[in-house]
């Protein structure tokens, strides 16, 4: 269908899909380091990420939409992260959680740390902090939802 002919139906369908995607981000249980505990904390009672529809932490990458890279990515782990990312079905999103994942953080001067997971997988939202508080990560997820809906400017 040409761009000019996109009927009301396709637009509505597209909108509905976007709405569904943004409201049902199932994260993958990929805990690497310190930030993984704070990632578990957003799942826990105090901050309860299930309010945003991200309740189900799927263990299998085939069934998850969101990869929260939580914790330092070492050079040895990076190919595995790439493989897990490749196993996920489109549309898939990545949140880089913590400064180690963003630019290497405190370990940037070392010899085994990847300076930013965006060299390995494309990242949608960066959440700085070491580790980010659960609220900050939740804000990151809200930012991702806005990005999916095309609302954010940050």
């Amino acid at each position: 269908m040409k761009t000019g002919e996109t009927g009301v139906l396709t637009t509505t369908l597209e909108n509905a899909l976007t709405w569904g995607r943004s409201n049902s981000l199932w994260p993958l249980t990929l805990g690497l380091a310190c930030c993984a505990i704070e990632m578990m904390a957003i799942q826990a009672s105090k901050l309860d990420i299930s309010r945003f529809g991200s309740e189900i932490f799927r263990n299998s990458p085939r069934q998850s939409d969101l990869m929260i890279v939580s914790g330092t990515v070492t050079k040895k782990m990076a190919p595995r992260i790439r493989r897990v990312y490749d196993e996920m079905p489109y549309p898939k999103y990545v949140i880089a959680m913590g400064v180690c994942v963003i630019q290497g953080g405190p370990y940037a001067r070392g010899y085994t740390v990847v300076l930013g997971v965006d060299r390995v997988v494309p990242v949608d939202v960066y959440v700085p902090g070491c580790p980010p508080t659960p609220e900050a990560l939740t804000y990151g997820i809200i930012t991702l939802q806005k990005k999916i809906r095309g609302e954010t400017d940050r």
């Binding site: 040895k76 190919p79 790439r82 070392g110 010899y111 085994t112 390995v120």
Partner: protein, 152 residues
């Protein structure tokens, strides 16, 4: 009684015994029969021209503590894995990071870094500016490359 080179007291109030490389295994066996059943730590310290290997021995029953030091010029030390199984991973780690070869170790492989990593990072002459990359081949085995295009 095995000969020791010197005996001193450290800042932490623990006895430090310096033994030669040849006498290490007999001395350690003697310590084991003396009741030092817990090998707490194996450390290798790069002193630029030589390497100190430091063993922290501990006796659970008597709560005694002894530090045994060995100085080696060619970075080869006999392994104490036969005396304390706990030395197994420790020695692998020190081989990995400092490059001390423990003779007689059953499985002396790198533990943290992939097998083909060049150099031993905790050596003082390790060049951090030469960046090494790790990638994974088809079978899931790691290989090391200096080519930035292949790594992450």
């Amino acid at each position: 009684m095995v000969d020791i080179i010197s005996e001193s007291k450290g800042k932490d109030g623990r006895k430090i015994v310096l033994v030669s490389v040849e006498n290490l295994i007999p001395f350690m066996k003697e310590m084991r029969t003396n009741g030092f059943d817990h090998l707490s730590l194996v450390t290798a310290v790069d002193k630029k021209d030589s390497i100190d290997v430091v063993y922290h021995l501990h006796s659970m029953e008597r709560n005694e503590y002894v530090v045994v030091k060995v100085n080696t010029k060619n970075s080869v030390v006999p392994s104490v894995t036969g005396i304390w199984p706990s030395a197994n991973w420790d020695e692998r780690e020190q081989y990995d990071l400092v490059g001390v070869k423990f003779e007689g170790h059953p499985n002396l492989k790198r533990i943290f870094l992939p097998e083909s990593w060049v150099g031993h990072p905790l050596r003082k002459d390790y060049d951090l500016s030469k960046v090494q990359y790790i990638n994974m081949d088809e079978d899931g085995e790691d290989y090391v490359t200096f080519d930035a295009g292949d790594g992450w």
